[in-house]
């Protein structure tokens, strides 16, 4: 039994890192622009499909970089034409817009690549477990954790030490003053959105190796990512990181005793957090009130 619990805890951490990747992208966009991006799952799917299309020509590793970049470009286009018009309004507007976008993405990926699931495989040396006992730790999952680790580290360094990153952080706290200080807020928001979508595209490529590549693949990963943000605390990236890992472990552990509740448990945690500490475990007071 202890072995089962240990295995599932470790496994939960692995699952959690994936949620962290999605949730960080969502969190970035939410913090600065106040946009609840329901289309994040759609961008994930687009990222995965682009990698599938590109990898026969440029290989898996190049596609790992190229597909998220392309997805980010699509994100920039969408931000400039559609989302930009809704800044400053009730968050409900942008929620409805991105909700509609999610459906559009699903149908477009279905129209372009077909409803049939597509076989996307990472290089075969990755898709093997490190040992028969620890079969659930494949090199691919370790690779995924490594990528997420690098990304998280990179993101935090970016936000702390680069000019753009500092401006984004400042903008999260007080966008008006940042604008008054002469920073081009429009470009700032666009770049911030692009970074968030880059993370979604990257998550899509990584997910394609683990899940079947189909138009609805983003939908199942999106809700846990939102829960991770709420549990960790809206407005806090550290909170999002912690929230993602927490729900991953919770989900993994619940499978030991109540497998059919493994999805429900993350919502139960969200409900408890909202009741006991509405700002989230590490969130700041007053955001999204």
């Amino acid at each position: 039994m202890t072995q089962l619990i240990l295995y599932n805890t470790f496994n939960g951490l692995i699952i959690g890192t994936f949620y962290v990747l999605m949730a960080l992208g969502l969190s970035l966009i939410l913090n600065l622009s106040g946009v609840i991006n329901f289309a994040h799952g759609g961008f994930l799917a687009v990222g995965g499909y682009l990698a599938y299309t590109l990898s026969p020509y440029i290989g898996f590793w190049a596609a790992l970089i190229a597909a998220p970049l392309l997805t980010a470009c699509i994100g920039i286009a969408i931000e400039r034409t559609l989302i930009r018009r809704l800044y400053g309004r009730d968050p409900l507007y942008s929620l409805l817009l991105t909700f509609g976008l999610a459906f559009i993405f699903e149908d477009m990926t279905r129209a372009i690549w077909g409803a049939q699931g597509l076989p996307f495989t990472p290089p075969s040396f990755l898709t093997q477990p490190i040992s028969p006992d620890f079969f659930f730790i494949t090199y691919y999952r370790l690779f995924m954790m490594a990528v997420v680790g690098i990304v998280v580290l990179g993101l935090f360094l970016f936000l702390r030490y680069t000019r753009l990153g500092v401006r984004i952080r400042a903008g999260t706290l007080d966008l008006e003053t940042v604008s008054a200080l002469g920073v081009n807020v429009r470009a700032l928001r666009t770049m911030n959105f692009a970074v968030g979508i880059f993370l979604a595209g990257l998550a899509g490529v990584l997910a394609g190796g683990n899940l079947s590549l189909e138009p609805t693949m983003g939908a199942n990963v999106l809700m846990p990512s939102f829960v991770a943000i709420i549990v960790g605390g809206v407005g806090s990236l550290h909170g999002t990181l912690f929230g993602g890992l927490l729900i991953g472990v919770a989900s993994g552990l619940t499978t030991v005793w109540f497998p059919s509740a493994s999805e429900a448990v993350i919502y139960v945690i969200m409900a408890v957090v909202l009741l006991v500490r509405p700002r989230g475990l590490m969130g700041e007071e007053g955001i999204m009130s």
């Binding site: 597509l118 076989p119 494949t138 590549l213 030991v256």
Partner: protein
Amino acid sequence: MSQNINCRIVRRRQVLQAGAAIGALQFAAPFIIQARGETPIKIGMVDPLTGAYAAVARSEVEGAKLAVQEINGKGGITGRPIELLVEDSANDTGTGVQKTRKLIERDGVSFIIGDVNSGVALAIAQVTNEKKILHVVPGGHSDAITGSDCHWNVFRVCNSTVMDGNAIADVLMEKFGKKWYFLTPDYAYGHSVQAALVKKLEAKGGKWEGALAPIGTPDYSSYLIKAKSYGPDVLINVMGAGDQVNSIKQYVQFGLAKQMPMGGTLFELESVLALPDDARAGWWTYEWYWNQPKVPQAAKFVADIKKQTNQIATARHWFGYVSIHSIALAANQAKSVDSVAVAHALEDMKLPPEVGLIQNTAYFRKGDHQLMSDVFVGQAHGAKGNPDDLFEVTDVVPGEKAAGPVEQSGCKLTYPA
């Protein structure tokens, strides 16, 4: 004098204008065409064209379209062409019911086909039963459709979960052993398959454990950890569509294929195609398979589907195809489109080989309206030459043998007076 000339000019112009108007109306107004007596017979098809089951639903629609083309080429039903109206149920019961009502009340369809999702199919059956419209379920598997919730107007093409379970249970026990672990989706279909298999297993003294996974679970590692620690002789994967693809992909990536063999009932060709080659394994039942050298008519069907869709023909294409052809054959035999007459004609009607496309003769059993068709038991494998031939059939079980006696189905049919 001038007045007379004016009158004539006006009268001629009026005649010319009237003639032009009548000519234009011939193309514009549909009711005028109807009055000519060539009204098409409308068949409504409700399937989840968007959502998780989109791939298999679209295959069913393509199969139906091919059948409509063939029938119209031979004169249609009682001399009238068929018009197929397809609506999207989006995997949602409310939407499915709403679309069915629209098809029946507004569009005036004579027959209904649908849905892939058993829950939606059952809900739609309530509507069609209320409206006394013949309803063929091409691909919804829950036993209740031809069991406890059967209706006189509902017929089903695909196998019930009991048929699939009965066909393969003995094979799995012989090949692997009697200690099984179930990975089951937590909804009606999953519970139904597991119950059918468990019944056969326990009758022979087997042991089992299982885990119910919510539909849409992306990561199966924790379930596979549990399975591995139980140490079964075979892992029974009951998951459907995308979930099955995900769980098998991960099962193979974890190297479990060498440690724990896999089997179950359905592993549809659409799902096999979505997996990389090394993940195409295990022992399964197919409700129809395209590669049947002993059935020459199947090759023509496969070629037609390839031409129409650029895809290999799957059981789902066949479901849609059989649904439409069955309705046409029964209506032509009854010489009527009245649902009661057609339903009576369809019972026990033997499908001709170019429709059945199987070795034995397919027919809808009178007691429960379940199609008795062959169940193909065999092993999935990677591509060896033909990239579409991914299943090796070891056993063909006739439908009646797999289904068991009709008295056990729990179905009681009562026709309207």
